[in-house]
Amino acid sequence: MPPASRRPVPHVLRDGFRVLRVAVRAEPRVFTISVAASAVYAAMTVTTAQVLGWVTQDVVLPAFRSGHTTAGALAGAAAAVTGVALLKALGVAGRRFYAGVMQYRLQARYRRAVTRQYLRLPLAWHHRHPTGQLLSNANADVEAVWAPIAPLPMAVGVVFMLLISAVSIMLTDLAVAGVGFLIFPAVALLNVAYQRRLAPVATRAQRLRAEVSEVAHESFEGGLVVKTLGREWAETERFEERALALRDANVAVGRIRGLFDPILEALPNLGVLAVLLIGSLRLEAGAMTAGDLVHVAYLFTLLAWPIRALGWVLAEVPRSVVGWERVRGVLDASGSLPFGDAALGEDKAAALEVRDVRFAYQDSESTGDGTGGNAGGGARTVLRDVSFTATPGRTVAVVGPTGSGKSTLTSLLVRLVDPADGSVLLDGVDLRDVRRGGVAATAALVPQQTFLFDDTVRGNVTMGLDVPDERVWEALRLAQADGFVAGLADGLDTRVGERGATLSGGQRQRLALARALVRRPRLLVLDDATSSVDPQVEARILHSLREAQSAGEGGGATVVVVAYRKATIALADEVVLLERGRVTGRGTHAELLRSSEGYRELVNAYERAEAEQETVQDRDGDAAEDESAGGIAGGEEAVA
């Protein structure tokens, strides 16, 4: 499934090296320091063995043979051992610290870059990418890309260590060196084979871990539905299936680990034993000393562990390459929203014109299953040939059945998305020609789904706009939110929590409304923005909006309002009826009532239901006696 496992190994390695090169180019200084420290560590590791060989040959064995020693010899031995260790420790500390610095700097740099890109890319791009995927791009994927950086300096040091070890043992004795040339390449190759076999299995386990987490997340999020329909057992089965798959994948990882780890540990030990045997023969032949023997045996013991660092880097490479592709997918994403340089006016209400607009949602693409796999769906057209105008200061209501494209239309009006065909114009200027920030400064949208930031009430209303508190209070008053905000412990400074969790739905909606009003927008777009508010409060909001508008406050905005309720529609000078993505009627409420069957059905639904209800109730009253005797059938007839 993941692209990395399908790809031939040389490509993965080549791509992996390319990623590492990016890292080295980005942090050349830190990388150099960490590699230099690693080289010190490598050199000192080899030196340690040499020192012990020397101590054995020139201090220990003479003393044991002759029965006496000198303080100078002992002090020299002790000083050499500790001195070398001190340098080695410094090398280790430097290597580890700077490797970490490099890894964390790269992570931070790419997290910033990815998030900036999220903020820069148009909403249409966001529509095509699931939220969960974007979050993991910025988190897990960025981490995976730079995971090989932590062991990288060590691995470079190890290469160096192997080179000087080879020279060191060849200078000691060629026959013994032969053992080393047999054992260590074997360890290195075996480790590469190990990591290569482990990587796909470990990746699979990783993916299953994510799936287990997704199932749990979705299941708990839908907990209320699970409960109300009594589907706990089915959910548990769904989860168990994933959990058992994860168990099997983890056991598979364990089997590979269990096989390779003991072999990798045994090989250098066998090497030491071989050195003892061959060394003894060479010693008998007078070709090497006991000190040389200790030196080489000790060196083998020391090399056993570091040599595996090569494998650690390689182990991370496939994940790193996949992560890099995903991160690049975000960073290279084009289709940024281009801006023009036209400026919009500043004081009076804006003139809005929607001209022959068509809009389609692209089917979502997910970098997880590659590109183009099941992209057969294509686009889903939501709006077709939509045209209407709103002259300055006027209010237009957009009315239509569920799923007719009203919310999509509102997002076009404030240029969250661009139309596929046609154009949206403010004061005669195509929104695409307006300079960056111009539309947001002119038009404000209150969306159907409220979003609050984990910030204070003030921060959520102003969103960084520099306005005095009086303006904030004024907006809160218009939105009927001043009352509850005044009652909060810290007033405007109260933090609302993640997504505004500490507030009720209606309170959140009123803050979102205040957020729009505080900007005194020249175009105000309300998308069913009071659905969670009590009818009485809603009535007050509508009343204050109407007053503000007639008083010319906030520059007397042009308003587009998506509404179902007649009281809201009553605010409108004109009504646009939207059905299945097309404008099927335009005019005043009264005109549409006369001319459009669909409109009548929509806005008079309640009255009609009420009228019918009264007749049904009358008949129900008559049928009541029947029902107690005759059962259900009578009732059904009554509605039929």
Partner: protein
Amino acid sequence: MTALSERAADEGALSTLRRGLRLTPEFRTGLAGTLALALASTAGRVVVPIAVQQTIDRGLGRPGGPDIGFIRAAVLLCALAVLLTAVCAYAMNVRLYRTSEAGLAGLRVRAFRHVHDLSMLTQSGERRGSLVSRVTGDVDQISQFMQAGGLMFIVSIGQLVVASVLMLVYSWQLALLVWAAFLPLAFALRRFQRIVSAAYTRVRERMGDLLAAVSESVVGAPVIRAYAAEERTGGRVDATVEAHRATQIRSQALVAMTFPTSELVAAFATAAVVVAGVLLGVGGHLSAGRLIAFLFLVTLFVSPMQTATEVLNEAQNAIAGWRRVLGVLDTVPDVADPGEDGVTLPRGPIEVRFESVGFAYPGGPPVLHEVNAEIAPRGRIAIVGQTGSGKTTFAKILTRLMDPTAGRVLVDGVPLGRVRFSSLRERIVMVPQDGFLFDASLADNIRYGRPGASDEDLAAALAELGLADWLDGLPRGLDTPVGQRGESLSAGERQLVALARAYIADPDLLVLDEATSAVDPATEVRIQRALDGVTRGRTAISIAHRLSTAEAADEVIVFEAGRIVQRGPHAELVARPGVYAGLHASWAAQRAL
């Protein structure tokens, strides 16, 4: 009772472990065998020092030249020992992974099920992420410890013990010297670990901030664009990224400083061994081979010390993970299924009676007072009232998502608490306002209400609800993917699916909690009318702030401040001055032009 149990949090680490093991019997199968294999495999680590000592003392040290025959025999024997321990290590690893993974999968599934068994109140008291991590990350911490840290711990202890024993055999004086060098380090490591673990905790906290900030920039994308808040949001993200990086680098500095200390201490020990060993050897108390073997034995002390911090951290995390998982399992569901002993309700229209029902959230003021109500079988009831008046609480108690804190609820004369969940959930279904959908097709989501329903059943159900036109308007019909949480559909469409899902479950009592609040009036009325038809013969209770529902109901129950203040048919209530007349007036005013 509503919060997750804190019992495990107050326990000592050992009793947490003991209880955890008791709750996960899979771990204990063959544990002794696995431990024995682990010890056998650590014994292999002293083979090399022994071989070195034997070669030097008895092979090379023989007067008159090396005894190659002996050396060959010794080396072969040792090689055999090395291979044997490798086989032991393999067997141990496989057993360990098998039992630990089996145990953890079982634990995960039990904890998952238990989360669903907890009441809504308990569930909503926890952050959702925290519940998820109890069946994912927390269990992973335990597995990580068992397969890496815990194993390393056993191996390290084994290695230290075996090396120490051999040292004592070779020379007790040098053994004491080595111990004297490493003992202070062992104590220092405890402290290091505490400091390092505190640093890691800060890293995790900053990571949480970072994820929250990044998620705002993704989830809040429309608002950020509509209000040109890109720079501001970017600044907030940058700040959290920087804070996270700073804590990472600080903890890295700590680790980088502590890690090489064991190498240094080993060097001191080696130097001391050389000096003391030579002096002992000169006195004739020690052979050269034993002294050299000591140099190799000292290296066996390094890796346990180097990994100690990591092992202790993992142990700490694993214990914390155990505690959180046990915290779920320890929590007794406050709304419990009576199970086998419970009553199974016969099918047929349901009658409901509330007797002096009161409810208060834990630590909060009462939100329902003395609610008495009878709902006749086949009754169609509308519940109205302002936000916060207790309507939804009433519905949640009726569907036993919560239990009342006073009084009782009877269905068909049976106390609600005695009805088996399997029966209750089949007979009484609620449609909540926010119709959560699963990331699957439209068909799968509706079928969730009745597994096994055919596509024809689904289409028929939608048609019965008056939604055939809507279905026809979807290009991919029942195969339409709804996206995560159903977000590819509009808010109103999600409600339609949720309604169809409940409807196809075919309950005898249907409770609608503002289930059509985001749907257009014509569709709402159409659904209302369709429901009137199809719910004849069932009991239906609707909560709505659009009063069209109330007008159509047999009876209206009016809530105010947690009490039922009025009830009766719409026509009667609207004619009397009172709460309902007031609500209706503002509703009517909204409709009027």
